[in-house]
């Protein structure tokens, strides 16, 4: 009997100590900063990049219309496992919504963002293509090549600040290049720095 009571009490005690899972208020997050890059850092970097691009006037096409843009290679040179789309998806979305740019899914730094473009063409050229109404299949020479490319990298530097503190610096670097001439139209670096306990691991 006594053993049962002890086990029950221990169970209750452990349950009381367990960290409760809560949803993050992503609009007004009051949570503490972390040494790694979190969604707030990506939101901040993306916001700074978008505003810089738009205010620079780089994306205003002479003669009107919209530029066709692709996302080139955005390298993750940090010690963390990051999908750079965390940054680029926000930027692409806002650039398209600004009305100045249309993104292409036909080519990209990581390959075509939408493989279906080529899969449908493979179907067109195969025997399966006969199953489709020919006028609904994409013809040859219908894809539009991008005029601009956006590429860059995210890099990290770890520095010992003092005996117990480390400083982690994250650099977000992006640039826009004219694919016809190779000239770089725009470039920006955004820095996010964190200082914290040396035992916190930033990777």
């Amino acid at each position: 009997m006594r053993t049962k009571i002890i086990i029950t009490l221990a169970g209750l005690l452990l349950a009381g100590c367990a960290q409760e899972t809560v949803n993050i208020d992503v609009v007004n997050d009051e949570g503490k900063a972390v040494m790694e890059l979190d969604y707030r850092d990506f939101a901040q970097a993306a916001s700074e990049m978008i505003q810089s691009m738009i205010s620079s006037g780089t994306l205003k096409k002479s003669g009107g219309g919209r530029y066709v843009m692709t996302t080139g290679r955005v390298t993750n040179d940090t010690m963390q496992r990051i999908d750079t789309d965390q940054l680029m998806a926000k930027i692409e979305e806002e650039l398209m919504n600004s009305g100045q740019v249309v993104m292409t899914s036909a080519v990209g730094g990581k390959g075509a963002p939408d493989e279906m473009i080529y899969e449908m063409r493979d179907i067109r050229d195969s025997a399966t293509g006969d199953e489709f109404k020919q006028e609904t299949l994409a013809g040859k020479k219908t894809l539009i090549a991008p005029e601009l490319s956006i590429a860059g990298k995210i890099l990290q530097r770890n520095i010992r600040y003092d005996r117990n503190t480390q400083q982690v610096e994250y650099y977000f670097q992006l640039m826009i290049t004219d694919l016809t001439t190779g000239l770089r139209f725009w470039q920006k670096e955004s820095i996010i720095g964190k200082r914290g306990d040396d035992r916190s691991v930033a990777w």
Binding site: E30, A33, A43, Q44, S55, G99
Partner: protein
């Protein structure tokens, strides 16, 4: 004795007034420029304590809205930090269309801003949509 004290006080006031005559665009910080009432080694603790007592903090002087060459609304906010300490805060700007409806955009996120003691600062923002005609801004403490 009283006369001597009065003369000294007047002389001191003249000294500090004279030191304050510099172009408004240039801010010479404490420890670099000549002493003022707020930076003098004797009067500084009193000035700092008084500033904290009356709760001097961030103040916004003006918000200028203008369309840029590409047709996007640009906002320039000028303010100053009245306190003697550096004030760090976060701000978020939301853009509104002609009907007063909020425009959903990824740029409307909490961004950091820092203003050194007794210094002015500026915040610049660009609406990423041409529909934006007005803005609203919120601030919160830097966590």
């Amino acid at each position: 004795m009283k006369t001597i004290t009065n003369i000294l006080l007047v002389a001191l006031a003249f000294t500090f007034t004279a030191c304050d005559q510099q172009p408004a665009q240039i801010h010479v910080r404490e420890g670099i420029g000549s002493d003022t009432l707020g930076s003098n080694i004797v009067t500084r603790p009193v000035a700092h304590a008084f500033s904290a007592l009356i709760g001097e903090r961030i103040e916004i002087d003006e918000a200028i809205l203008a369309k840029n060459d590409t047709g996007f609304l640009e906002l320039n906010i000028n303010g100053h930090n009245r306190s003697y300490n550096t004030k760090r805060f976060r701000y978020k700007i939301e853009w509104l269309d002609a009907n007063g409806l909020m425009i959903q955009t990824k740029t409307s996120t909490w961004l950091p801003q820092s203003a050194m003691g007794k210094s002015s600062f500026s915040i610049k923002a660009v609406a990423p949509r041409v529909e934006a005609v007005q803005f609203r801004m919120d601030t919160k403490k830097w966590e």
